[in-house]
């Protein structure tokens, strides 16, 4: 209120720092709350439980397979969307964004209905028998969620590549395929990799879609988020918190990695 323009800088910074502090403190407290729940001894014991180790292995293996699949699907699709214009493109583009805002539980319910026995497309139910209630179903659910993120980030990355390079390459007689591999892909790589890291983190934490498609079967479809859910349900807070901490630490490492890549 004493703030005349020349004197503003310091009070303004202080003013702006308050919300920043609140946000940082809130996140810090959430992590502290989880971390302080267990003594190091309890944490170690919970981490070495067979159930935790199983969830850890399944989470990492399924999420990495899902990541590979979503890159395989997402990058070419993104390239097409970034490079070509076609009728109904706005519609397709918006459709592809939908899973980003769709609650995963809804995505899972939809997947279950499409590949379940009462599927509106009976042949899909035949294929569905492989996916339903199995780790393959978890990969399906995670890929569904992760692919959207890849498409989004890869498309932005391809669009950021100066079309001049491509035009020059074209006039020099490079085939479209060579242009893609020699110019667009390397130049967009940074953006694609950071999208992949985000997508991987999402696949690791995926819960809602997996719950519906694969069920909550201990030691079969039990990923880290599923282990948190099931163990909270049984009051085994130690295992739940240990799994939560593993997820948080992994996510933190992934985000740090992304920053490092951006700087490079």
């Amino acid at each position: 209120m004493s703030g005349r323009a020349p004197r503003l800088p310091i009070p303004l910074d202080v003013l702006l720092a308050v919300p920043l502090l609140i946000i940082a403190a809130a996140i810090g407290l959430v992590i502290l709350g989880l971390g302080a729940r267990l003594t190091p001894h309890e944490l170690f014991r919970a981490l070495s439980e067979a159930e935790t180790l199983f969830a850890l292995r399944l989470s990492f293996s399924t999420s990495l397979i899902s990541l590979a699949l979503s890159l395989l699907l997402g990058v070419p699709a993104a390239y097409l969307l970034a490079r070509r214009r076609f009728r109904g493109m706005a519609l397709v583009d918006t459709l592809l964004d939908l899973p980003l805002v769709m609650p995963p539980l809804v995505a899972g319910l939809g997947l279950l209905f499409v590949i379940g026995r009462s599927s509106p497309l009976p042949p899909l139910a035949e294929i569905g028998a492989v996916f339903l209630f199995s780790p393959a179903g978890m990969v399906l659910a995670q890929t569904f969620i992760a692919t959207t993120i890849i498409v989004r980030s890869a498309k932005a990355a391809f669009e950021a590549v100066d079309p001049g390079y491509r035009d020059v390459a074209g006039t020099l007689g490079l085939t479209p395929a060579r242009v893609f591999f020699a110019i667009d892909l390397p130049l967009a790589a940074g953006g694609i990799v950071s999208g992949a890291i985000l997508a991987w983190a999402r696949a690791l934490g995926e819960f809602g879609a997996t719950l519906m498609v694969a069920g909550a079967t201990r030691f079969r479809t039990e990923t880290l988020p599923m282990a948190i859910y099931l163990n909270m349900a049984t009051g085994e807070v130690e295992v739940a918190v240990a799994c939560a901490l593993v997820l948080l630490v992994t996510a933190f490492a992934l985000l740090l990695m992304m920053r490092g890549l951006k700087r490079a």
């Binding site: 379940g116 009462s118 209630f133 909550a216 079967t217 479809t221 859910y229 349900a233």
Partner: protein, 258 residues
Amino acid sequence: MAKRHFLPGVALVLALVLVLVAPRAMADELHVYAGAGLRQPVSAIADLFKAETGTNVVIEFGGSGQIMARYAEAGEGDVFVPGSTFYSDKLEAKGLVRSMRLLVEHGPVLAVTKAKAGEITTFSDLAKPGVRLGLGDPEAMALGRTAEDILKASGMAEKILPNVTVRAATVKQLALYVFDGDVDAAIIAASDAAMNPDKVTVVAIPKEWYTVEIVPVVVLTTAKEPDAAEAFAEKLASDEGRAVWKRFGFTPVASDGE
């Protein structure tokens, strides 16, 4: 000038705080935890209760074990309606029970999808190779525990367990799987099967293999409005309440002819 710009902002924030806080402050509201499988009757009776008393009833549904864990962490709430006395016993042991009333049976049945009704006609058919069976997670939900008892008592657990295709976290999720034919059979609530005779065929489970779970209503010692909480519990157990339970396929305890 600066002052003038500030005032509307401050007023807005204050108004927002008031809007957020006020309903709680003057709340005549009950917080109820209830098993996911009991959703329809508990919601219907809560609506009746609200219409009569004006007391708003906020109900949190989930697997019985799950709402139990939620309550243990939150430490707040007025009424608890789990799918089994197993959970109210746990509350009792912690001294959290102010009063308890027994409501209805939460009995299990073996529900078989119409497509497989010809192949699965007795419980022992579950041991046939290739049968896709759905069960509840024994810790997360009341009927999951019952199913575990049934398997043990049947003496066929070793043969049947490999056919367990999926475990569900709530009895409603499990019912969805069997209604849609995603599993061939599942041990679900008698009430859910009774409400969907067009989707599943019921195969009897020998009564001596399990003790039927009883749904209790517990008024918690943490109740902020004990009188309203007691009144709601009474409503659930009243004749009017019983009629609602029956409408959704549950058997009230006292009217049980056994």
